[in-house]
């Protein structure tokens, strides 16, 4: 369990000595609950938004494509790393 705890802390960029695993759990839990609430709200308003879509659609598609391109670049490893960043050293 302790080994797993250290692994998770390192994975999420926390200091293994001072990092609190409880805070990581709480942080993820809070996010999951906001995510679920936003998801429910999106699904509930989905039909109405689709009906009112029209002109906004193209701009949204463009920004979605840009995000997907960024994600593909990151996955290919062609993404530059910010100078001085220690993330990913572990």
């Amino acid at each position: 369990m302790e080994k797993l705890r250290l692994e998770v802390l390192l994975r999420f960029g926390e200091d293994p000595k001072s990092g609190e695993i409880g805070e990581v759990f709480q942080c993820v839990l809070d996010f999951l609950s906001s995510f679920s609430a936003a998801q429910q709200s999106f699904e509930a308003g989905g039909a109405a938004a689709a009906a009112a879509g029209g002109g906004k659609g193209e701009a949204e598609d463009q920004s979605s494509r840009a995000v997907d391109n960024k994600l593909s670049a990151m996955k290919k490893g062609t993404f530059r790393r910010r100078a001085g960043s220690s993330v990913g050293n572990h």
């Binding site: 369990m1 302790e2 797993l4 705890r5 692994e7 998770v8 994975r11 999420f12 960029g13 926390e14 609190e20 695993i21 409880g22 990581v24 759990f25 709480q26 942080c27 993820v28 839990l29 809070d30 996010f31 999951l32 906001s34 995510f35 679920s36 936003a38 998801q39 709200s41 999106f42 699904e43 920004s63 979605s64 840009a66 995000v67 997907d68 960024k70 994600l71 990151m74 996955k75 993404f79 530059r80 790393r81 910010r82 960043s85 993330v87 990913g88």
Partner: protein, 173 residues
């Protein structure tokens, strides 16, 4: 049979008492340890969560563009909860979290569908005070050592051998 004739009576009684106490403490700790271990494993292996983090990073880097904040290789987990604080300048009431959710539901449906279920144990693990179970386990570890040395004293009798003595089925340390 005379009690006085039995060798190491004190140690034997101590070991029996300790064994009872040990099993009781272990069964009390077991559910917490299981929740924490399961949640840690989920955080380490959940593909949908890793995908979500990659998407959040991509969106953050896209938004920050060529500025000094752009090109980040990662972010701290607490940034996840700040997504809901970034408000849209064009759509009142909408936040970056709403955009992320919409984007994920439309383009990465697998992530949206599995995210909550893949991290099912995080909720129960968040209620556990890790420092408490860690202290308890360390104290048990100390008592195991002390008991093993007592067993060494009496191991010649009745075929008890401390090296092969199993403390229940599960040992976490």
């Amino acid at each position: 049979m005379e009690v006085g004739g039995v060798k190491h009576v004190r140690e034997r009684i101590d070991i029996l008492c300790w064994l009872h106490e040990y099993n009781e403490k272990m069964s009390g700790l077991e559910p917490d340890v299981e929740h924490v271990t399961a949640a840690l494993t989920e955080l380490n292996t959940a593909k949908s969560f890793a995908e979500l983090l990659a998407l959040v990073l991509a969106v953050g880097n896209y938004m920050n563009g060529g500025s000094f904040r752009g090109g980040a290789a990662g972010f701290k987990l607490d940034a996840l909860n700040k997504l809901a604080d970034v408000r849209s300048t064009t759509q009142p009431g909408k936040t970056l979290l709403d955009f992320m959710v919409k984007f994920i539901c439309q383009h990465h449906q697998g992530v949206a569908a599995k995210l909550v279920s893949e991290l099912g144990n995080v909720g129960s693990a968040a209620k556990v005070a890790y420092s408490n179970i860690s202290t308890e386990l360390n104290s048990l570890k100390g008592s195991v050592r002390a008991t093993l040395s007592k067993l060494d004293k009496v191991k010649d009798v009745a075929g008890m051998r401390s090296r092969n003595f199993a403390f229940g089925e599960t040992r976490w340390f």
